[in-house]
């Protein structure tokens, strides 16, 4: 699976305003609503579901990256977006580092395979330091979109 399969460029948030985990998740879900990827009346339900999942254990996976996510019956395909926080946000990650890159995923309840393949793609690319650094240094949605496209073309990992 490629980033272009689940991240629409217009939903990317290049400079997250929020300074805490809940705020960042709210901001990214709001961006998905704003750009028509999820229905406005599902906003609270999806936000709450992602927060409930965080309570089971932080989705901060190290290297300054978090992957907050949930299944939700209101979507019929995997939907994701990306946010960057230049100052970093406390996500209670395993390694204790602040999170600068957030990949948020909402997937249909009956498609665990798509969720696994999205995680596979994200984690495979994150193995490359250059990919991580370029994303963290991105200043605009266009920059981020370009890095994701380059990743989709296997410019960072073979």
């Amino acid at each position: 699976m490629k980033f272009s399969d689940f991240v629409k460029a217009e939903t990317i948030v290049p400079e997250l305003v929020a300074t805490d985990k809940a705020g960042v998740i709210r901001e990214l879900v709001a961006s998905l609503v704003e750009h028509g990827q999820i229905k406005a009346d599902e906003f609270e339900s999806i936000f709450e579901a992602i927060m409930t999942r965080e309570e089971l254990g932080s989705t901060g996976i190290g290297r300054g990256v978090a992957v907050p996510h949930t299944k939700h019956a209101s979507v019929d395909q995997l939907i994701g977006t990306v946010g960057v926080s230049s100052n970093g946000v406390d996500f209670q990650s395993l390694d204790g580092e602040k999170v600068q890159l957030v990949f948020l995923l909402v997937s249909p309840p009956d498609r665990p395979g798509d969720h696994l393949r999205a995680l596979e793609n994200i984690s495979r690319q994150l193995h490359d330091e250059t990919f991580c650094r370029f994303l963290k240094q991105s200043k605009s949605a266009g920059d981020i979109q370009q890095v994701l496209e380059e990743a989709d073309n296997n410019q960072y990992v073979s």
């Binding site: 599902e42 409930t52 949930t70 395993l94 696994l116 995680l119 596979e120 984690s123």
Partner: protein, 100 residues
């Protein structure tokens, strides 16, 4: 204690596959052992103490995984990790919220 190598092949039983929460549980347990731990799926061999590496397996329900541990506590590590995988990570107890 002597360095030993132990391995065991187990089937991933939980419905959601090796997603983030199981990967974390696995790494947390693996990290309690001094032995090196590798997980092999098909022809891919990865570090069993790295969440990112486990996620790159994208192992679905039913996948066969070989656990290979090397070190003084290799046997205990393989036994504990195989038990965790075979338990299904208690996934049935996790209720995912869904819209009405």
């Amino acid at each position: 204690m002597p360095e030993t190598q132990c391995s065991r092949t187990v089937r991933l039983v939980n419905a959601q596959g090796f997603h983030l929460r199981p990967a974390k549980l696995f790494v947390e347990l693996a990290s309690k052992f001094g032995s090196t731990i590798e997980v092999i799926k098909d022809d891919v061999r990865i570090d069993g103490k790295s969440i990112l590496s486990i996620l790159t397996l994208a192992a679905p329900q039913g996948a066969l995984l070989s656990l290979v541990a090397q070190g003084a506590d290799a046997q205990a590590a393989v036994d504990a990790l195989a038990t965790l995988i075979e338990s299904g990570f208690d996934e049935a107890q996790v209720v995912y919220p869904a819209s009405e």
